[in-house]
């Protein structure tokens, strides 16, 4: 296997207490001995913290928000490719995918490769369609309903017992014990992320997560299960450890086979008190703890790069007991570091200057 010497673009550099996965993806790439390429950070805000982490990115660019549309994004990627080179793109945020799915031929024409799901795969795993995974593929999913009006909540008790979990299409989940709490959660989620809103039967238990890559033909290229050891107030993992959980991996394989999933994903599963597994969500991108897979010896971001480049990938078994602890630190910079990214929207050679 020849070392990778190209340039990879990574999005999601908002390394806050609710972090985007970009920093973890870049960290994993740097961790692989065969990664001898360059990493370009693609940020939405000049204060995205990942931009200023020493030693991570060779260059960085601001890119237009997904809401500005596909043409603006593709135009910006074309400019970045011409300026810095861009062989592989790893989008890491849910909201970016609608503009990129189905654009593989266009991107390839530009010389930019990806390894992403098809639109059909992406839509089938959407929160609003999770119930179909149960009916079509017998995947254990808690009862859920997709609501477009708050009025539907007032008759929900006829179909579903409280407590319930109220979710938007993109981010966030709120447990509601009562109708009043559900109505409040509905309005908050709708105001922030729009309609529809998904209401799911609450399952008491322990949450487990799996980071995985599907080969697009029903197989699993790699999968690493993780148990969160410490949570933030919003339920984000602040520490975690890889575990040996055969039923969880078997469920992952069933999901990937059912969806014929192509590309990265994070599978969120709840294990109830009787040991039953319940699929809660499938996120269509790497999670913010994806660097743990590098620590566990099954480097999924590097595998993504290889797959995007058309290489065959065989990963070793992952190590059980590999752990991560996230740290909140201050990166000290001079105000001039903000100059280029704020005014020109780009920073070149950030890695060598740090």
């Amino acid at each position: 296997m020849a070392p990778f010497t190209g340039t990879v673009g990574v999005t999601g550099l908002n390394a806050t207490d609710n972090p985007g996965p970009g920093v973890a993806v870049a960290t994993a790439l740097r961790h692989h001995p065969d990664f001898q390429g360059r990493i370009v950070g693609l940020a939405y805000d000049s204060l995205d913290p990942g931009l200023y982490l020493p030693g991570l990115f060779d260059a960085a660019f601001l890119i237009p928000y997904p809401s500005t549309g596909r043409a603006a994004l593709l135009g910006r990627l074309e400019y970045i490719r011409e300026t810095e080179g861009l062989d592989v793109l790893i989008p890491t945020l849910d909201s970016e995918l609608p503009a990129l799915l189905g654009q593989e031929p266009t991107l390839e024409e530009m010389g930019i490769r990806t390894f992403l799901p098809t639109r059909a795969q992406h839509d089938e795993r959407a929160k609003a369609n999770l119930d179909l995974l149960r009916s079509r593929h017998d995947i254990p999913v808690p009862q859920c309903e997709t609501l477009v009006s708050v009025d539907d909540l007032y008759t929900l008790h006829e179909r579903m017992d409280f407590p319930v979990v109220v979710k938007s299409l993109f981010y966030g989940a709120k447990v509601a014990q009562t109708l009043d709490e559900a109505v409040a959660a509905f309005h908050m989620a709708a105001a922030k992320w729009g309609l529809p809103i998904i209401v799911q039967r609450f399952v008491a238990g322990e949450e487990y997560n799996v980071a995985a890559i599907g080969d697009g033909r029903g197989g699993v290229v790699g999968a690493v299960p993780m148990k969160k050891l410490m949570l933030t107030d919003s339920g984000k993992g602040w520490a975690g450890v890889t575990i040996a959980d055969r039923p969880l991996l078997a469920l992952t394989e069933r999901i990937m086979a059912a969806l014929k999933w192509r590309g990265p994903c994070e599978i969120e599963v709840m294990r109830d008190r009787d040991g039953g597994l319940h699929l809660m969500e499938i996120n269509p991108r790497f999670p913010a703890w994806i660097d743990l897979t590098a620590g566990a010896g099954q480097n999924l971001p590097f595998a993504y790069v290889q797959l995007a480049m058309g290489e065959a990938v065989t990963l070793p078994p992952f190590k059980v007991g590999a752990a991560f602890v996230r740290a909140s630190t201050n990166t000290l910079i001079d105000i001039s570091a903000l100059d280029a990214i704020s005014t020109a929207g780009e920073m070149l050679s950030t890695r060598s200057s740090s």
């Binding site: 148990k227 050891l229 975690g240 450890v241 890889t242 575990i243 040996a244 959980d245 059980v320 007991g321």
Partner: protein, 86 residues
């Protein structure tokens, strides 16, 4: 007893359950009891072993070991039906 057998117990008393990701800390006494139960020792054998190592009366040891077994059941590290043999 699969869970107990799979536990990684470090010499310093750090315990890692590789199936659930749960971690525990035990002191020297706790480690001795944990390893003893894992190795299949019954109540009397455990009490005898502990009384050789620790200056505690047998009645106290017996009560503490039974309490420890209860905690292991509570933590689902042994089956709900697990009882130490006399």
């Amino acid at each position: 007893m699969d869970t107990l057998n799979n536990l990684a117990i470090s010499p310093t008393g750090f315990v890692f359950d590789p199936t659930t990701g749960a971690t525990y800390s035990v002191n020297a006494t706790g480690r001795a009891v944990l390893e003893g139960i894992r190795d299949g020792l019954g109540l009397e054998a455990l009490v005898a072993q502990l009384s050789e190592r620790f200056a505690v009366g047998e009645a106290d040891l017996r009560r503490d070991v039974l309490e420890y077994a209860r905690v292991l059941r509570e933590q689902q590290l042994v089956p709900n039906t697990f009882e130490l043999e006399s």
